[in-house]
Amino acid sequence: MGPNGFGALEGVAAVVATWMAIGVLGLLRPRDLRFVRALFVGGAATALALVAIALVALWQPAQSTTLPLGLPDLPFHLRIDALSALFLAMLGCANAPISLYSSGYFRAGEGTAPGLICFQYHAFLAAMAMVLVADDAYLFMVAWESMALASFFLVTTDHRIPEIRRAGFLYLLIAHVGATAILLCFGVLQGGRGDYTFSGMRSVALAGAWPSAGFFLALFGFGAKAGLLPLHVWLPEAHPAAPSPVSALMSGVMLKTAIYGLLRVTFDLLHLQLWWWGVIALTLGLLTALFGVVFAAVQTDMKRLLAYSSIENIGVIVAAIGLAILFQANAKPLLAGIALTAALYHALNHAFMKSLLFLATGSVLHATRERSLGKLGGLIHKMPWVAACALVGTLAIAGLPPLNGFVSEWLLLQAFLFTPSLPQSFVTMLVPLAAAALVLAVAVAAYVMVKFYGVIFLGRPRESSLANAHDAGRRERAALVVLALGCLFLGLFPVNVIGGIDRVNALLIATTVLPAGHSNWLLLAPIATGRSSYMPLIVFAVIIAVVLITIVAIRRVWHGRLRRANAWDCGYPLQTARMQDTAEGFGQPIRQVFEPFFRMQRHLPSPFDERPRYEVRVSDPFWEGIYVPIARGAERIASVAGLIQHRRIGVYLTVSFLTLIALLFFGR
């Protein structure tokens, strides 16, 4: 039990157990859809319980315990502190609606049996929760890999399609390599003492190049899971392949576990931070952000687009973390705190926004059986609920006030902006450039989201089949609304949220962003009111007020009469849905500006073409640039190694003989 009577850990353990139990129940009657849907609702309820537990634990001192499982000298250690609690809360908040949505989403006869999906899904949840409370390397790795495994099976739910299998394989492969790197990172952190508990690692003071080795192994390993450049390639493959709730869960929560791990290792387990780590993380993050958003702009598959946008957001978060490291290493705790707060806040935001959007795409997918943006459009008429909620998500992820995306962006910019001259002069020069890059990324994100929303929901349907699209079911709607409200809340009440995040700041870098006696719950002013301040609620209120006043005024003064007519469009007589901008068309300016970064195959129709067809395929440069060469190299080495194979016995004998001679020769 915890110090003041509340056993948060026991609570979390109970939640995990419940989830596993639900999963196993699902296995009992795998084909019974009604039963399985009920189970998903149960999972949602459990998630709510987790939220409550986590929020309580957030304000409590850390608690730890051990389980009677694990390796002989290394039983499973559990620990819940502010960091774990925050991410657990995130997991719960995002998961509750997603589970609710799933209960309405999964149909029978789509690849894997619903019951099996239910099991994998809840095992996935349980594994994520365990990752967040693990307090020794072994348990962490076990949970981590189980998470990867469960999500892999979820991704390959429809395993009959070769592309999906390929996506799953790529995902699991990169996840596994990343996991191995994390493992080696723990190998570094234990400092040769054979003590794999995190508490043991905290007490080790690594010398020489070891800390850097540890940090970069962690950056590599967790980057592979988070989708950091150049390990992002699995993301755009896996997310479209997976069922939408799973994509939401992976993108919204699983990527954050990687962030959690990075923070845990960097600020908690490592006893020091070096400024140049920060620089590298910052650069890497910003590159990732720009890359992700630019590629998102040219996607034509809505889930791919969202996947790339996830890469962007992860990039932003990592950049913030890098900034935090930089400041922390230069003993500027307050700024480090702001940067860290921005990172955590953005992680929270992204959990909500991206889940919301992925679920929306799920509804669209079910309503239209169509994933390609080129075949959608005008759905706002058919599915108003989804459209409304998706609008909130769109504005939020585009970083517009007064929604939540803007808050984290604002905080991060504050951190950038008040960089006092750091000892490393070129870093001081670098920071404004970084800020510029960040702002650019955010601006392009707005572009991308307008494309996303406009092409899917607005305009006229590009296919006749869209006429019989239908709005999402009741549970789906509820889930979407909850998430949308979540976005709104995070946007309007930042002070209260930051109050919670400050617990993490206090834990990791021993400082708080909000001054101790901060009473004004409206005013967000991290450093000083004179310096920078933001009151989203007021802004929101004013906009709403003005809008209402205007509407009322206009109604009063000029009886607003309104009649419908055909669209004018400069009086062009022929108007077909095909004349709207396509997704490709919308991406064109970006393609033009960032031409050098793409590998494009463009097919232009010839003037005499009977049925002219324009098509452009944009492929990831990193794929051709890094992964294909690696694969080729492996093949080459393999063929070299295979040379001694399949020859006559004489050759084998000779090989053994030479080995013997060599050993005798050098063995003396």
């Binding site: 063929s639 194979q645 399949h646 020859r647 004489g650 005798l664 003396r668």
Partner: protein, 225 residues
């Protein structure tokens, strides 16, 4: 404990030399039948040397292993081999993988190598066994080389057996024989292995209608597509 008579260990060294000589001869020999004869000779010399060691170091159990050697390596195995050769009629070994002179040269290098490999050991060995360990090692190496260079199954087996002889010689001369139980086990294994091979050869013969190992070179590990 070792009561050495000069005659004794001169004899042993002589036998050792002969063994080495025989090993070289086997390396050079192409006719399967005479290969078997050489093997018999080797076995015989081995038996003699064992007997001498037994006598000079008065270790009675070595007499038993002498008898064992005589029965097994002079009588039984050669008989089996001869039968095989007659049954399968493989009298001629064609040109080996490497031509004879080269093989001999390599052999000499090996001998030198194993001698100075054994040298430090010989220093600290008791007198009788001074050089024999090196020679034993050399003849093992030579048999190994022979196995490498031969193409056909039976010569390889003979090479294998003569390697066994080298080991046996090492055991007897260097350490006055392993414990009896071990030697019995070794002998048993050799015998059983030989019998199995006997059966085996007919199988191979059925399948490949020749004992040329070139038939075994069909590719198992496919190259990558």
């Amino acid at each position: 404990m070792i009561s050495t008579t000069p005659v004794g260990f001169q004899l042993i060294n002589l036998f050792a030399a002969i063994l080495l000589l025989l090993a070289f001869a086997m390396l050079a020999q192409r006719r399967v039948v005479s290969l078997i004869d050489l093997f018999v000779a080797q076995g015989f010399v081995l038996a003699l040397s064992t007997a001498v060691v037994a006598y000079t170091t008065n270790q009675p159990h070595l007499y038993q292993s002498t008898a064992l050697t005589l029965v097994l390596k002079v009588a039984l195995l050669p008989w089996i081999l001869h039968r095989l050769v007659r049954k399968l009629d493989v009298r001629w070994e064609f040109e080996g993988l490497i031509n004879i002179p080269t093989t001999m040269l390599i052999g000499i290098v090996l001998v030198v190598f194993s001698f100075n490999l054994a040298l430090p050991i010989s220093q600290l060995a008791s007198t009788v066994t001074r050089s024999t360990l090196g020679i034993a090692l050399a003849s093992i190496m030579l048999s190994f080389l022979m196995m490498i260079t031969r193409r056909k199954a039976i010569p390889q087996v003979i090479g294998f057996l003569s390697m066994e002889n080298g080991l046996f010689f090492a055991a007897t001369s260097a350490t006055y024989g392993m414990p009896m139980v071990v030697e019995l086990g070794v002998a048993l294994d050799v015998l059983v292995g030989m019998l199995i091979l006997g059966v085996f050869f007919f199988q191979i013969r059925e399948q490949f209608d020749s004992l040329d190992l070139a038939h075994f070179e069909n590719v198992r590990d496919q190259p990558p597509r």
